[in-house]
């Protein structure tokens, strides 16, 4: 007796049937290693060419905003770590920035410097890992990524010794920072930063001139500047298209106007330019960090008037935004005078940078779509919130 009934075998369709030559719909994800998390793309193919691509979100949705609206301002701070779990220092800062704008709170000088130090170290972590992941998507199985992880571990060790946690740092507070680094910590961080260009040189020697990288990324996934501006693309993806818009320069967030650095711009807006933006931005971040360690002032790290527990900003609203490694990270808060925010909104750069994913991928193959997605740099904790 057969285990299966006779009609349960696989259906083999003749090639010359009426469906031949039709478009093929491929559902990539949510469980696919190249989508960097639980992200799904419904790709329609004509042969190998992509003719339509629809992103599908929500697999990591936990309604972060609703949770934050039902708890106090301070309790949301550790929860913002989980938005962009690679860059918790900048998500913390963006939230603190919005709350400080809402309540009109001052931040002492030393805390401003520490914030910039943490944000730029985070940028080094994010960009070096992103380049590693991009090469994973290109097919170099893990070698560049492990070079990046080697450096990342050193920075995460510093974060751990300072804040108690490698990735979920929960470091910033309204009106300052939580812990003051010791002189030994600063010396170790400064030595790491001074050595970082050597890692970048090594990394670039290995990667930048690589023929596979050149062949697979130059001219792939072009993004025109006018399109990118209209679609609200921000961060290195926008600057790769040649638009000079860096919030560190435009808004002058924190003490950034006190530092000398340049904003690298791309010329073609393709995947290769997006790769180069990350490398060049890391070199600029090293410059900022070296200046910051030289000029770090002494003093308190918390505003003495800052009130964390029982914190009730007066009624009003504020939108605070910050140049996070992925783009413009904004927090929009409405207070009604109670201990909980009436409205708490995260403006996620990862989600909005995906707006033009379809336009970038049209006409390319699925293998290119994977690389284009890798060059946009998304984190699903932030996309789905």
């Amino acid at each position: 007796m057969s285990l299966f009934p006779a009609n349960s075998g696989p259906t083999v369709r003749a090639v010359h049937d009426e469906f031949h030559g039709d478009l093929l719909e491929v559902s990539m994800g949510p469980q696919h290693p190249s989508t960097h998390g639980v992200f799904r793309m419904v790709v329609t193919l004509d042969g190998e060419q992509i003719v339509k691509l629809k992103p599908v979100f929500g697999y990591l949705h936990r309604n972060h905003e609703k949770i934050a609206e039902n708890t106090s301002y301070l309790s949301s701070m550790p929860y913002t770590d989980r938005l962009d779990y690679l860059c918790s220092m900048t998500t913390n800062w963006a939230y603190a920035l919005a709350v400080e704008k809402l309540s009109g709170q001052a931040v002492p000088d030393r805390a401003q410097y520490l914030r910039i130090i943490m944000a730029e170290l985070t940028r080094l972590v994010n960009h070096s890992c992103l380049v590693g992941f991009l090469f994973n998507d290109l097919g170099t199985s893990f070698t560049p990524l492990l070079y990046a992880f080697r450096e990342r571990e050193k920075i995460l060790d510093l974060f751990e010794s300072l804040s108690g946690s490698r990735m979920m740092c929960n470091y910033q507070r309204f009106g300052g920072c939580r812990v003051d680094p010791s002189p030994e910590w600063l010396a170790a961080a400064s030595a790491l930063v001074d050595n970082f260009p050597r890692f970048l040189d090594e990394y670039e020697t290995m990667l930048t001139g690589n023929e596979i990288l050149l062949a697979r990324t130059q001219g792939v996934g072009r993004l025109a500047a006018a399109h990118a501006i209209n679609a609200g693309i921000t961060g290195p993806v926008l600057r790769a298209s040649g638009v000079d818009y860096d919030l560190r320069k435009v808004d002058g967030t924190g003490f950034y106007p006190r530092f000398e650095f340049r904003v690298p711009l791309g010329a073609h807006g393709d995947t290769y330019d997006r790769y180069m933006m990350r490398i060049l931005e890391m070199r600029e971040s090293v410059k900022i960090l070296q200046q910051a360690f030289k000029t770090l002032p002494a003093g308190p790290i918390m505003d003495p008037k800052a009130k964390l527990r029982g914190f009730r900003p007066k009624a009003g609203e504020a939108y605070g935004r910050l140049e996070s490694p992925k783009g413009e990270l904004g927090f929009y808060l409405i207070s009604d005078g109670s201990p909980n925010p009436w409205r708490y909104r995260v403006r996620p750069p990862s989600l909005i940078n995906l707006t033009l994913l379809e336009e970038m991928c049209l006409g390319h193959t699925i293998a290119d779509a994977v690389v284009i997605l890798g060059s946009i740099d998304i984190v699903l904790g932030e996309v789905d919130r």
């Binding site: 949705h61 309604n63 905003e65 209209n230 609200g232 435009v250 009003g316 033009l356």
Partner: protein, 223 residues
Amino acid sequence: MENLEQIRDRLLARFPAAQVAIVVNPGSAAEHSLLLDPASAPEIARFLRDDPMLQLDYCSNVTGVDWPEKEITDIVKKSVPDPAGGPDKVVEEKTKRLQPGYLEAVYHLYSMARKHGSVILRLRTGNRSDLVTLPSLTPVWRSADFQEREIFDLYGIVFAGHPDLRRLLMWDEFKDHPMRKDYVAPDDFEWEPTPHGDVHERAKAHYPAPPPAASTPTPEAKP
């Protein structure tokens, strides 16, 4: 950049039929916003984007806010003459009124060309139940695409003219709008309809139900 009063005056001169009002933000950020009437919002948005003085080409943040109806108590102080002939008494008269609720869409605009901002636009729906349609500004700023879908998903504002208005984060079969203030989460999400309903149904039929146990004979009633 011009201040908000100048922008409002220019808009009113250019679009005489439009209603534009300034919503004051009492907080310390003092980011005041422009309240537009939904009918003229798309043409005003297009004007703000293309006007050479403003060039607000970058729509950064789009979000919804829920303002449920609330009871407001107005206190009016009245002086009543004392019948005994003494000085007038001050009596507080309390009247209660119901402020109708509405949903709000907020747009934060900046200019990448001129590097200024922000100008904040607000659109309000008629109520929270049936008059929830607002014009979509996605044809003006593509960056509102996913964000308006998210507002439609979580707040229930219907954006007329949006090219692809579907739920963004919740699944398609979901019925309610979770970011509304009066939303009550179900006790058990297992009972919510999901795309996997037919899987569960098929699993039930995968093995036929066991035959009913042999019914035990009921003891006959004694006469």
